[in-house]
C-alpha cells in the first residue's frame, strides 16, 4: 500500500513536469553572460588585447558612466543580426537607466557581420551615419585582412572618441525612483496598519495587532517590504496598545507585554530594488546604430 502511494506520487510529479516542460522558452542563441567589457566567446582575441581593451572601457565608464561592451560570437546561428544584437543589448541593459548610454559592438565571425548597437542616450553623438563610417573605414578594412585584434581595438577607440565628452556624471548620486517609491509605500502601509490596528485594539487586545499587521502586509509591495511592514505594524500596535495608547476612549488596562530588546532587534534595510546584474545599469536601446560585413 505504501509503495503504491509513492509510485502514484512519482507519476503525478512526472506528469506535472511534462506539462510544464513546453512552457520553457526555446531561444535561438543564448545571450552570453556579461563577464566584462569584452566578451570574447569565440576566443579570437589574444588575452593581452582583451586586458588592454577592458581597461580602456572601464576607464571610460568610470569617467562618463557610458557602458561600451564588445561581444564576439562564433556564429549567429541563423538569427538576423539586428534581432540578436538588440536582444543582447536589451538583456544586458547596457548604460544607466533613464540615460540609456550604452553601446554594443557585436562581431559574428562565421557570418562575417559586425554591428554597433547604440542606446537612446548616445544616438546624438554616435549617430547612425557615424557608426556606419567607423565600421566602414576602421573596422571592416582590417577584418578583411584578418586583423581582428587591430580592427576591434581601432573600432573601440573610434567609438570612444566619438562619444567622448557627451555625457558627464552628475556630482551627487541620485536616488533611483524605485527605491524611494518603495520606501514611501512601506511607510504609508505601516501608518495605516498602525492606525487601524489601534482602532481594533479597543475592541480586542489580540485582534488589534493582527489586523494592523495584516493590513500593512497587504498594502505594502510584495514580498520583503510587505513582510517588514507587516511585522513592524504588528509590533507597533502591540506596543502602543499595550502601553495604553489607542484611538478613541481609553480602556484602562496598562501592560507592556513585550521587551525593549525585541523592539530594538527589528532593524534592517528595506532591501534594495531589483537592479539588474553587477555590470549592466538598466539602459535601453531603440534600434540605432549601424551594421556592416566583410
Amino acid at each position: 500500500m505504501r509503495l503504491c502511494g509513492r509510485v502514484r506520487k512519482a507519476v503525478l510529479a512526472g506528469w506535472v513536469w511534462l506539462v510544464l516542460m513546453p512552457g520553457l522558452p526555446a531561444l535561438a542563441l543564448d545571450v552570453p553572460s556579461l563577464s566584462g567589457p569584452v566578451v570574447d566567446v569565440a576566443h579570437v582575441l589574444p588575452p593581452a588585447t582583451v586586458e588592454q581593451l577592458s581597461q580602456e572601457l572601464r576607464a571610460h565608464e568610470a569617467k562618463t558612466s557610458n557602458q561600451v561592451v564588445v561581444l564576439i560570437v562564433p556564429s549567429l546561428e541563423g538569427e538576423p543580426l539586428f534581432d540578436f544584437s538588440h536582444r543582447v543589448a536589451t538583456t544586458w541593459k547596457l548604460g544607466r537607466k533613464g540615460t540609456d548610454n550604452g553601446v554594443l559592438l557585436l562581431v559574428a565571425l562565421k557570418d562575417r557581420k559586425v554591428r554597433l548597437e547604440v542606446g537612446y542616450g548616445l544616438e546624438g553623438a554616435l549617430t547612425d551615419a557615424r557608426s556606419a563610417q567607423i565600421i566602414r573605414n576602421e573596422i571592416v578594412p582590417r577584418f578583411r585582412t584578418g586583423e581582428f585584434a587591430a580592427g576591434i581595438t581601432v573600432g573601440v577607440r573610434a567609438v570612444l572618441s566619438t562619444i567622448e565628452g557627451t555625457y558627464h556624471v552628475p556630482e551627487r548620486p541620485t536616488v533611483s525612483p524605485s527605491d524611494s517609491d518603495r520606501l514611501g509605500q512601506v511607510l504609508l502601509a505601516v501608518i495605516v496598519g498602525v492606525v487601524i490596528g489601534l482602532l481594533f485594539s479597543r475592541a480586542h487586545r489580540v485582534l488589534g495587532p493582527v489586523v494592523g499587521g495584516g493590513l500593512s502586509f497587504v498594502a505594502a509591495p510584495w514580498l520583503v517590504p510587505a513582510l517588514i511592514a507587516g511585522g513592524l505594524s504588528l509590533l507597533l500596535v502591540s506596543l502602543l496598545g499595550g502601553w495604553g495608547l489607542s484611538v478613541g476612549p481609553r480602556r484602562g488596562r496598562r501592560t507592556s507585554g513585550f521587551d525593549e530588546t525585541w523592539f530594538s532587534t527589528q532593524r534592517g534595510g528595506w532591501g534594495s530594488g531589483d537592479l539588474s546584474g553587477s555590470f549592466g545599469g538598466g539602459g535601453d536601446f531603440g534600434g540605432g546604430g549601424a551594421s556592416g560585413d566583410w
Binding site: F82, H86, T127, D128, A129, S131, A132, Q133, R136, L188, A189, V192, I196, L199, F200, R202, A203, V211, L215, V218, A219, F285, G286, G287, G288, G289, A290, S291
Partner: protein, 200 residues
C-alpha cells in the same frame, strides 16, 4: 460594541481596497491607455523620420541616375501618400484608418526597396559617401521602426487583455468607455519584416 466592530471592519476594508486593489483596474486601464498612446507616438515618429530621409535620398540618386524617372517618381509619390494619412487621436480606435495607414507605409517600403535595388547597378552611386551615409540612416530608421512597432504591439496586447478580462472589462466598458485598440496584424509583420535591402 458590535456596531463599533462592524464600523471598524467597514473602514479597514475600504482602506485596504483603496491601497491594494487597483479599484478593479481603473488606474491600470488609464495607465495602459496612456502607455499605448505613447508607444503609438513613437511608431509615428519613426515612420516620419523615414519619410524625412527620402527627399535627400531621391536627390542623391538623381545625381547619378537621373534617367530612372519611374522608380524615382514612385518613391516620391509613395512618400506623399504615406505622409498624407491624417493621424488623429481617434486613430487607434478606427480599424479601417489604421489599415490604410499600414498599407501606405508598406507601399513606401516597397518603393524604397526598388530604389535601393536599382542603386546596386550604379557603382559610382554605391561608392558615394553621402549615399552610403543615407543608406545607413535608412537602415537605422528601419530598425527603429521595428523596435517601436514591437513595443507598441506588446503594449496594445496588454491593454486589450485588460479591456477583455473580467472584472476589468466592466470598468472599461461602463466607467471609462474604453475599447480595444487596433493592432498590427501578422500579415503586415511578415511584409514589414523584410526591410529594403541594403547590401553591397
Amino acid at each position: 460594541m458590535s456596531m463599533i466592530v462592524a464600523r471598524m471592519v467597514l473602514v479597514s476594508l475600504l482602506l485596504t481596497g483603496m491601497l491594494t486593489s487597483s479599484g478593479c483596474g481603473y488606474n491600470d486601464l488609464q495607465g495602459l491607455d496612456e502607455d499605448t498612446k505613447a508607444a503609438w507616438s513613437e511608431v509615428i515618429n519613426q515612420y516620419q523620420r523615414r519619410a524625412d530621409l527620402i527627399p535627400n535620398l531621391v536627390n542623391t540618386v538623381k545625381g547619378y541616375a537621373a534617367h530612372e524617372r519611374e522608380t524615382l517618381e514612385s518613391v516620391v509619390q509613395a512618400r506623399a501618400r504615406a505622409t498624407n494619412v491624417q493621424i488623429t487621436p481617434e486613430f487607434l480606435k478606427d480599424e479601417a484608418a489604421f489599415k490604410k495607414f499600414q498599407e501606405a507605409q508598406q507601399g513606401l517600403s516597397g518603393a524604397l526597396g526598388r530604389l535601393l535595388a536599382l542603386a546596386e547597378q550604379y557603382p559610382n552611386l554605391k561608392a558615394d559617401q553621402g549615399f552610403r551615409d543615407l543608406q545607413s540612416q535608412l537602415e537605422g530608421t528601419e530598425n527603429r521602426i521595428t523596435v517601436a512597432r514591437k513595443r507598441y504591439i506588446e503594449k496594445v496586447a496588454e491593454f486589450n487583455k485588460m479591456v477583455r478580462y473580467f472584472p476589468t472589462n466592466l470598468t472599461a466598458k461602463f466607467l471609462l468607455h474604453l475599447d480595444e485598440k487596433a493592432n498590427f496584424t501578422v500579415a503586415d509583420e511578415k511584409a514589414v519584416a523584410k526591410p529594403p535591402e541594403v547590401k553591397f
